[in-house]
Symmetry: C2
Subunit: 80 residues, 2 copies
């Protein structure tokens, strides 16, 4: 099954990359840009065919490697 994972910084954690993007967009002439936050987006295939088991496996991957749960949130979406 295919899994989509979004990893985002928790609110309250400073996001210098997002700030840099916001400044650069302003310098390019885009106006009215508010808060910008950058996160990671990962797509992966797992062999597991049961959606619930696949989700549990991918969440374990997030906890073990993909996300730094001290400062990041993750969201897992399993596609059929």
């Amino acid at each position: 099954m295919k899994a989509k994972i979004h990893i985002t910084l928790k609110s309250g954690v400073l996001d210098p990359q997002g700030k840099a993007i916001g400044h650069a967009l302003g310098a390019l002439g885009f106006e009215g840009i508010g808060d910008v936050r950058q996160g990671k987006y990962i797509e992966l295939d797992v062999a597991e065919n049961d959606p619930a088991k696949a989700e549990a496996q991918v969440k374990a991957m997030c906890e073990a490697l993909l996300a730094n749960t001290v400062i990041e949130n993750y969201a897992v979406e399993i596609l059929a």
Copy 2:
């Protein structure tokens, strides 16, 4: 309005970061991991209140700065 942007490598473009994630997951004991692709996920606020105009503005930002359209695709989603 709030915009969500996904920036992903075009298919056929080598993704060493995704490969590294796949290998690392394998080394941690996760089995059955297929293709892994990593992209970027950006959330931003724009002052524009018309969804169509906001989408056009955010697409212009993607073309100008956020995505390298030679090797990357982008998808824009505008939230009410």
